[in-house]
């Protein structure tokens, strides 16, 4: 099991980067590592994915600073797409990527078998919620498992005890009503197969499907007002619940619990906002490492616009 991302004695700050400018901003603001999406193969939208050329550019920039880059390949490719993707990963490894993030146990297992030294993360979309989940993905070959920032300190403490796997917490995220990885509301209403040019024959982006749609597919049904009907009568109109999670003032407790990687959600963030966000977490982590009091931030209750553009 590769642990190449684990920095001894200090938690890793893992920041999103939706484009090369954001990548530079995140690195200059103190991210130890960044994660990027590869165009056509990651969830989260066209705005947050890199072309092959951009990925190579970002790898060069990051490695010059001795920082790492993980690539999100977290759609769930179908059989023909998977054959293509497994071959493509060899090319990515040749470019020097430091790891991949995947969303499907089958793809994870095949990547582990084919690339024994590759660092593999089980994505937040794998919906790991408990220590048995984390152990399952570890046994499958994951080096790290992403957990939602909604878990309690007790839960994080227990999960961090699972040996031989890094505990990664998406500490800054929007908590949607439906659990990440368990939503197919959008595709119930709209599903549009779109040919994926790279994969000859059977490749299709299922635009509308959160799990399989690739770029820009979630049209946010949960953010639109719904009439709530009780016994056939409308009793209210409302949005489905969502809230911003970003407990920066409690980060020291999270780190005390043994979390290895502090992950920030937000591949669609502007470089300006991303720099501010990463800078906050850098300062807090450094204070914890040095045994000092964390800086106090006034706006600890952040709006979802700190995570996802257009909210």
């Amino acid at each position: 099991m590769s642990l190449i991302l684990h920095r001894a004695d200090a938690p890793i700050l893992l920041a999103p980067a939706g484009d090369p400018t954001a990548a530079v901003a995140a690195l200059e603001s103190g991210a130890d590592a960044i994660y990027v999406g590869l165009k056509g193969w990651s969830r989260g939208g066209a705005k947050g994915e890199l072309t092959s050329e951009e990925l190579q550019e970002v790898l060069s920039v990051a490695h010059a600073r001795s920082r790492r880059v993980r690539v999100a390949l977290n759609t769930i490719p179908r059989r023909a797409e998977r054959r293509y993707l497994l071959g493509r990963v060899a090319e990515l490894i040749g470019w020097g990527i430091d790891g991949v993030i995947v969303n499907d146990p089958g793809l994870l297992a095949e990547l582990r078998a084919r690339y024994p030294a590759l660092c593999i993360t089980a994505s937040i979309g794998c919906a790991a919620m408990n220590e048995a989940d984390v152990a399952f993905y570890r046994d499958l070959g994951a080096d790290a498992v992403v957990l939602p920032g909604t878990l309690s300190l007790d839960e994080l403490r227990a999960i961090a005890q699972v040996p031989d796997v890094m505990t990664e917490v998406m500490i800054h995220m929007v908590e949607e009503f439906i659990l990440l990885g368990k939503c197919w509301m959008p595709s119930y209403y709209r599903l549009n197969p779109t040919p994926l040019a790279e994969v000859h024959g059977e490749g299709n982006r299922l635009v509308g499907s959160m799990k399989r749609g690739g770029a820009g597919v979630c049209f946010k049904v949960c953010e639109q007002p719904w009439g709530l009907y009780l016994d056939g009568q409308q009793v209210t109109k409302r949005l489905l619940p969502s809230r911003q999670i970003s407990p920066i003032n409690d980060l020291s407790d999270v780190l005390d619990a043994g979390v290895d990687v502090v992950k920030l959600q937000g591949r669609s963030l502007s470089s300006t906002l991303l720099a501010r966000l990463v800078g906050r977490y850098r300062a807090s982590i450094d204070a914890w490492v040095d045994g000092k009091a964390a800086p106090a931030f006034e706006e600890f209750q952040l709006e979802p616009s700190w995570t996802v553009a257009r909210r």
Binding site: I76, P77, R78, R79, D104, P105, G106, L107, A109, E110, C126, A127, A128, M129, N130, E131, A132, D133, A135, F136, Y137, D139, L140, T150, L151, E155, A158, I159, F177, I178, L179, G181, K182, W184, M185, S187, Y188, Y189, L191, P193, L206, G208, S209, K211, R212, V221, Q224, P225, W226, G227, L228, Y229, L230, D231, G232, Q233, Q234, V235, L240, P241
Partner: protein, 319 residues
Amino acid sequence: MTRSFELNTTISNLRDLKASDLSPYDAIYLGNITCRLYEANLLEHPDDLREAIAVVKGQGKRAYVTSYAAPRNDFLPKLRKALAVAVEAGIDAVEVHNLGVLKIVHETHPGLPVHIGGLANVYTDAGAEVLKRFGAMRITPNYELSLEEIGQIQRQVGLPMELLVHGKMPLGISDYCFLLEYEEAWGIKCPDLCQQDLFLKQGDWAMKSIGKGVLSGRDVCMFEHLPQLVAEGHDCFRIEAVSESPAYRLEVGRVYREALKRAVAGMNGMEEGWWNTLRSHARIGLCNGFYFGKSGMEYLGVRPEAVASAVRRPGADAI
């Protein structure tokens, strides 16, 4: 020799089980997968679970225990207890929607047959192969898969696929029940809240709220397509009635039992009365789910009127 099939359904608690006529069904999944606080959830009440298994098996049916779709750490001890009780009581299989639970079952009860549930997110043959190594003997693929994709997985992996043929399909599960916000305003408290008739509507779109999750507003209905499913080699079928009445469970089950008997015997033709029964229970209307590669709420078939609900409640908005 007539080909056999299994028609099953889910029942969450002992009260519903005893109120239900199980005659159309070959097997019952016991328990509620979304919420520990669901009224008398069989997964939280070992004595009830023991009795429920005895009731089901006493009627000559197979009894399966289900398990939580998104269990937190503190769910796991109770879940282990429920599994132990179920195994001791002679359960025929466990349904697993969470891969950590799969690991627990595999390690603690290695001989227990495992059915992978739809919320476990099996989307590919590779994913199914992994779960087969952990003891899976049957798979309900994720609801987003088409029949074509399901068939490919079945052929590649060699495991039977269980198909939802009727009922509201899960569209997502949550860790939070927003219905609790209305306890005071409505004068209805948990665990009664999520059992109310609750729909979310937006234009032509509708979903059913079950508290910690949402179901499709339209009932998936593969009634017209049963001959195709049988011809494609499928023989495990579910009526999803966890949020429905005993009358729904019985009447819809009876229709599918008879229709499947005809389909496996290679007989054509459906009784008009069967069709009327199905439509009468569809509050919002019918859909095919994702089986034909379309959006989940679409309906393909020779009965376009299926899309509209045949149910009209006096004084209610036409949903």
